[in-house]
């Protein structure tokens, strides 16, 4: 990234704040950008105060840009996602918010058959295809007792569908930067934000520079193991890596940021150095992001592997409600440390 040379870490922002600031910048600079979703405003007509989205991400946007551009909808996901697609085909750049990714299930046709396919159906080669500047923002993640239908992490399911770019930011700068890249993209981009990270503050560059889609970042450098993690699993992986450093083990921690397309070059480069792979993911235990990375690495760099790759994911069951059950469901720092040690001892 060109701006990294004189990058100025001048602020500490939460993901919710960073997205809100980025949204203000984006809507200011491009009048074709609109927002669509439920409870985006929540205005008190007597006092003028507003909710600004259930996580506060859209706060102030309606005041700044008007209700023509910040469109609060009925609870009609199929209709408003479809409307976003049509608007994206006819001159607007919609950012559509689906409150929780679990609710994508009610509008899956518009996402996987329509949004994902129309661009590719419009021409045999990319130069002949129409642009589809649609962004869908949604939330993922367990940990707050929301239960089975408000806690899933469905990025693995979505990454199986060609035609969708899927990003899962782990910090405020990436969230804002990926949003900017998403709005500028001619592909459908789905930004999946972890609810458990919204309020954490992260140091950011004040200008919230764009973050390229499809490019990972090496969060920590080491020798013994490559850990691939996403979203809320990044802070977990970092804390595990730090604990292990004290015992003399070091690792590459890679945050791919975008799961589709996936930065396999960065992953393979690291693997050729370390020879050991762990994928830590809050998504599916079966045929999800973790299995995909392991399959790619196993088939493309088998010779480099010193031992079988491992995945650390929740078990193949619904997200349970009670706190101890939910905690047992989620990957932990101890899981990572134990897996790392096991792998190093066996090879």
């Amino acid at each position: 990234m060109k701006s990294q040379i004189n990058s100025q870490i001048s602020e500490s922002l939460s993901i919710a704040n960073a997205l809100n600031q980025a949204m203000h910048q984006i809507m200011q600079s491009d009048p074709s950008v609109i927002m669509i979703g439920e409870d985006l405003i929540g205005e008190n007509l007597a006092t003028g105060a507003e909710l600004g989205g259930v996580f506060g991400v859209s706060h102030g946007l309606a005041k700044a840009f008007g209700r023509n551009r910040v469109i609060e909808t009925p609870i009609s996901e199929t209709a408003f996602v479809g409307m976003g697609i049509g608007a994206a085909m006819t001159g607007l750049k919609p950012i559509v918010e689906i409150m929780f990714c679990d609710f994508m299930a009610v509008c899956f046709d518009q996402i996987i058959n329509q949004a994902a396919k129309i661009r590719a159906l419009s021409g045999a080669t990319p130069d002949k295809q129409i642009p589809m500047p649609l962004v869908i923002r949604t939330t993922i993640g367990a940990g707050d007792g929301s239960g089975a239908m408000h806690s899933q992490s469905l990025h693995g399911l979505l990454m199986q569908i060609p035609g969708l770019v899927i990003a899962c930011p782990s910090n405020a700068g990436d969230a804002a930067g990926l949003l900017k890249a998403a709005v500028a993209s001619e592909d459908v981009v789905i930004l999946m934000e972890h609810k458990g990270l919204y309020e954490t503050r992260f140091p950011v560059e004040a200008s919230l520079p764009i973050v390229p889609l499809g490019k990972g970042t090496l969060v920590q450098k080491g020798h013994d193991i490559t850990i691939i993690a996403l979203s809320a699993m990044i802070p977990l992986a970092i804390s595990a890596a730090e604990a292990l450093k004290a015992e003399g083990y070091t690792m590459d921690v890679i945050d791919p940021r975008t799961v589709s397309p996936l930065d396999m070059d960065m992953i393979l480069n690291s693997l050729h150095k370390t020879g050991r792979l762990i994928v830590v993911d809050e998504g599916a235990a079966i045929a999800g992001f973790a299995d995909h990375v392991i399959a790619e690495v196993s088939s493309r760099a088998f010779d480099a592997l010193k031992c079988a790759p491992r995945k650390i994911t929740p078990p193949h069951c619904l997200v349970p409600y009670a706190p101890a059950l939910e905690a047992a469901y989620l990957p932990t720092q101890a899981n990572i440390i134990q897996t790392v040690k096991g792998m190093i001892h066996e090879s």
Binding site: G42, N44, L51, T73, I75, V106, H150, Y321
Partner: protein, 305 residues
Amino acid sequence: MKIDELRILLSECFFYRAFEDEISRLAQRGETPGLVHLSRGAEVFEAALMTALDLSVDHMTGSHRSHVLALASGADPVAVAGEILGRNCGLSGGVAGTQHLLSYDTGFLCSNGIVGAQVPIAAGAALSAKINKTGGIGVAVMGDGATNQGAVLETMNMAVSLDLPLFFIVENNGFAQSTTTSNAGGAVSVVARARGFGLVADQTDGSEVRAFYPVLMRLIDYVRSQQKPAFLEVSVPRLGGHYEGDGEIYRTQTPLIDPLDLLSDLADQAEIEGISDIQSMAEHKALSAIQTALKSPKAEPNAKS
């Protein structure tokens, strides 16, 4: 409604209110794992609904806001409280939680984290009743916001086209989260929309038992005897936030009438004696159920309940 029925209704409503009030206090103290959506304001209607149904053959589904429906279906209050609190004694051992109450044995098939999703499921119960000739009906309880979901609109049409004994109930509390019903609903009222699908439909005041009870009985009788769907919109206040802890920044200050006060007044007028005793007994029952639930262990991995 007879005096005895009124007394029982009053006692049940006091019980539900005390139950929700105590859950509210526990939520404020962080004792509920997730956000709870309370039924305060809908108790009178929901309690009366249960007296009008026959849950030995009828089946019902509800929304995210279903604590009272589950209780009123006859589910063990300790198990309902236990589920909301994530305890072993919960309806589902603490796995499901406040938004996903299932009380199969009492005819309450599910409440739901997905707005509107419970509605087609109730159509399935209506289909079973029809094919198996059980004499039962399906009942789908939802909020006004749910009437904007595709699944709900599809079910409204399908119930008419398949002649399902399905009773749609929309509790209109004026809000879907922070969005007002009038903002979301377009130009046509919910009940006018239902009529557009060919449903027999009515609208009534869910705060006032004398107003809604005859309408409720008539429509349930219609669904059962004609084996056809019907639709009822009841207005009920949402006496509190969308969930417990919601600051309700969006709500303008309009005084709300508490249906439970209206019911107490009615009981007074009917010269029911010992209303305060009825209330304190109901409150005691609610608190002791919740206390019992709190004594049950928190759900743990592999715990045997």
